[in-house]
């Protein structure tokens, strides 16, 4: 099987994630889309590691996973807090920054 198919998959996943981030309102879904983009990037890293025959890409994907784990912790905490105070998980409701 052609190894570049992994890259196409990665691009598709990333695009789905990016579109989801832009068009969805539910914070949980947006969050999952962000995770999808991170994992698409991880897939690309691993594929490149395979193509180049070294471990650089794999090491980078580990870093991404660690950062993603931290991000999940912080991000979920924020979403839960916002939901508690506003009774809504819509990202459009949390637009107080412009004021």
């Amino acid at each position: 099987m052609d190894i570049s198919n992994y890259l196409y998959l990665s691009i598709i996943l990333f695009t789905i994630g990016a579109v989801g981030v832009v068009i969805r309102r539910n914070a949980i879904v947006v969050f999952m889309c962000v995770e999808l983009m991170l994992n698409a990037a991880n897939l690309a890293f691993v594929t490149f590691a395979r193509i180049n025959g070294n471990l650089d890409g794999q090491v980078a994907s580990f870093f991404t996973m660690v950062v993603a784990a931290c991000e999940v912790v912080v991000g979920l905490a924020i979403i839960v807090t916002i939901y508690r105070s506003r009774r809504s998980a819509s990202v459009d409701d949390a637009s107080l920054l412009k004021r």
Partner: protein
């Protein structure tokens, strides 16, 4: 060349006194006038002792110098602050300190009712210091400092009663007209430096014979412009009449005897320039001839006693300027007339002040008349000044003015005839307007009401200086011309080559008789014409009289030719500044503001929008990198 260590006191004493009076303010009110007068008198004592010391020396040793300090030292350009007292300067120093002291004494009484008398005396001392610096400087740059100093003092004193807006405006007018002349002086100094690499009188004198005629004519013309500004000569004459807004002692000291003659000093001091350039000399005689007639004509139409005297001053300085343009022989006569004029004109101004003192500050001669019975001393001293200015022998003006008329005739050719006839005509006009002034003020029936006016003779503090100046008006002409003493005294400075005058067109006695005849005609006509004077100025007069009353339209001319176009130019420049320069700045601001307003819309607070912007940005960046590396 002798060196001295005490010339500086001449300038330092009055300068320190002025500073003390101004700094102490009201604390010095009680004794300020006494200090100022004492200082002025002490400068006169120094001047007299310097004169006798100079008289005792001979030849080149007569000139005295004192170096004060290195003023400017840039590369090869060096100017010392140094003083030079020579045969020419000492004449001025004696005149300034002598007449200055008399006027200080006079002012003690004249200004006694003014609550700002101390400030007045401070300015007078400032003037004395600046004027002495002007005549004692050994280079054009030192002279320039004094030149500006007397301009400042003149401005302050014309506007001394600046609570009256008209007087403040008169001060401003004098200042502005003087600035135009000052530009001439600074340009002359710059050309001189470019040509000779030095600005000292000695250095320029040494270089002048080798300079190009264009440069010499340029320096001469610029010096003449400077002289015209300071000495109220055509075309910058318009300020002098209005300068009479100042207190009368100021008119006597600054605007008759000393400061306005600074232009004559400047040209005489720069004799090496004018001797080397016939173009410059021609300009000088033209300006002199025009002004002497201009002032005399204006003088015939003025009803304000001080303005009539101011017009007369302008005319007499025209004579001096004319004389300075007549070559090496003319300078001595110019200075001689300057000194005799200093006596009789200062005396007459003080007389006018005395009349005003007795008449509640009335200056309109049509409201005088018959004052000789009430102010006998003033009338007599004024009479001596009158006889001196119209040139009746043996009074001072006879000797000095006839010499100028004679020299003008001897200038040779058509030029000699034109100048001589102008000078002769001026003498006739002088006799006319001065007789008119005397008749209207002192003779005839009183035209004032006994209920309102109580004319009285002035106190001794005022009439003694007038009497001393009257003695000067009688004796000075004979003293200066006896044995050609003035000509010989000044010759080393103004006529070092010993040049002779042109061939005698007429015997001196013929010129004197001609001048006397013209004077008798002028005076006689005035006596006939002004036997009766109406209180109101007659309205049905010829157009010439009307023009003369308006100072020969000098102000109208300045307004139409200089002021209005100047205002238009300023308006246009302001408009251009607003629409183009400001417009550009405002356009930049507007563009930035409008763009920001547009960009503000994307800051809507929605996290999705930011994410989209970021995505587009990253894609754009990636696309750019891809395009570049392709």
């Amino acid at each position: 060349m002798t060196t001295s260590t005490h010339l500086v006191y001449l300038i330092a004493l009055p300068l320190i006194s002025a500073a003390v009076l101004l700094v102490l303010g009201r604390l010095a009110d009680k004794w300020g006038h006494l200090l100022a007068t004492l200082i002025s008198a002490s400068t006169f004592v120094i001047a007299v002792s310097e004169f006798f010391a100079m008289h005792g020396r001979s030849g080149a040793a007569r000139a005295t110098t004192q170096k004060l300090f290195d003023w400017i030292s840039v590369g090869t350009f060096k100017v010392d602050a140094a003083l030079l007292l020579d045969q020419l300067s000492i004449c001025f120093v004696l005149l300034i300190t002598g007449v200055g002291t008399l006027i200080h004494i006079y002012s003690i009484a004249y200004m006694s009712h003014d609550r700002d008398r101390r400030r007045f005396f401070a300015y007078l001392n400032l003037f004395i210091a600046a004027m002495l610096l002007l005549v004692l400087g050994n280079s054009y740059l030192n002279l320039y400092v004094g030149w500006e100093g007397v301009g400042l003092a003149s401005y302050l004193l014309i506007g001394f009663w600046n609570q009256k807006p008209a007087y403040a405006t008169a001060a401003k007018k004098a200042f502005v007209a003087n600035r135009v002349g000052d530009i001439g002086l600074s340009l002359a100094i710059m050309i001189a430096f470019a040509q000779f690499g030095t600005v000292s009188f000695a250095g320029v004198a040494a270089g002048a014979p080798h300079a190009s005629s264009a440069a010499l004519a340029g320096i001469g013309a610029m010096l003449l412009l400077a002289a015209a500004g300071k000495s109220a000569q055509f075309p910058l004459q318009s300020w002098l009449g209005d300068a009479m807004a100042g207190p009368t002692p100021v008119s006597a000291l600054i605007h008759a005897a000393t400061m306005v003659t600074a232009g004559v000093y400047l040209i005489t001091r720069s004799n090496f320039i004018f001797d080397a350039s016939s173009t410059a000399r021609l300009l000088v005689v033209i300006v002199g001839a025009i002004t002497l007639l201009f002032g005399a004509i204006v003088g015939t139409a003025k009803d304000d006693i001080k303005k009539a005297l101011a017009a007369s001053t302008m005319s007499q300085i025209g004579y001096m300027i004319l004389a300075t343009g007549l070559g090496p022989v003319g300078y001595a006569f110019a200075i001689m007339h300057l000194l005799t004029h200093g006596f009789f004109k200062a005396g007459m101004f003080l007389g006018a002040g005395s009349v005003m003192h007795g008449m509640n500050d009335e200056v309109n001669m049509r409201k005088f008349g018959g004052l000789n019975r009430f102010l006998p001393i003033t009338a007599i001293t004024f009479g001596f000044g009158y006889l001196a200015i119209i040139g009746v022998p043996p009074f001072a003006g006879f000797y000095s003015k006839d010499k100028i008329i004679e020299t003008a005739f001897n200038a040779g050719g058509t030029k000699g005839y034109i100048l001589g006839i102008c000078a002769l005509l001026g003498a006739g006009l002088t006799a006319f307007y001065m007789t008119r002034l005397i008749v209207m003020t002192f003779w005839g029936a009183p035209r004032w009401s006994k209920d309102e006016q109580h004319p009285h003779e002035s106190p001794a503090l005022m009439w003694v200086p007038m009497a001393i100046l009257a003695v000067g008006s009688i004796a000075s002409g004979f003293l200066f011309s006896h044995g050609s003493s003035m000509v010989h005294w000044l010759a080393p400075v103004v006529n070092p080559s010993g040049a002779e005058g042109g061939a005698e067109l007429m015997k001196p006695i013929v010129v004197s008789l001609l001048a006397l005849a013209v004077v008798v005609i002028g005076a006689g006509y005035a006596m006939l014409k002004y036997r009766t004077v109406s209180v109101e100025a007659p309205a049905n007069v010829t157009v010439f009289t009307r023009i003369a009353r308006r100072d020969l339209l000098q102000d109208a001319f300045n307004e139409a030719v200089l002021m209005r176009p100047g205002q238009k130019l300023t308006t246009a420049l302001v408009w251009a500044d607003y629409s183009f320069i400001d417009g550009l700045v405002r356009a930049v601001g507007f563009t930035l503001g409008a763009t920001s307003q547009g960009l503000r819309k994307i800051q809507n607070g929605y996290a999705r929008t930011y994410a989209l912007v970021m995505l587009v940005g990253v894609l754009a960046l990636a696309a750019t990198i891809w395009m570049v590396t392709l």
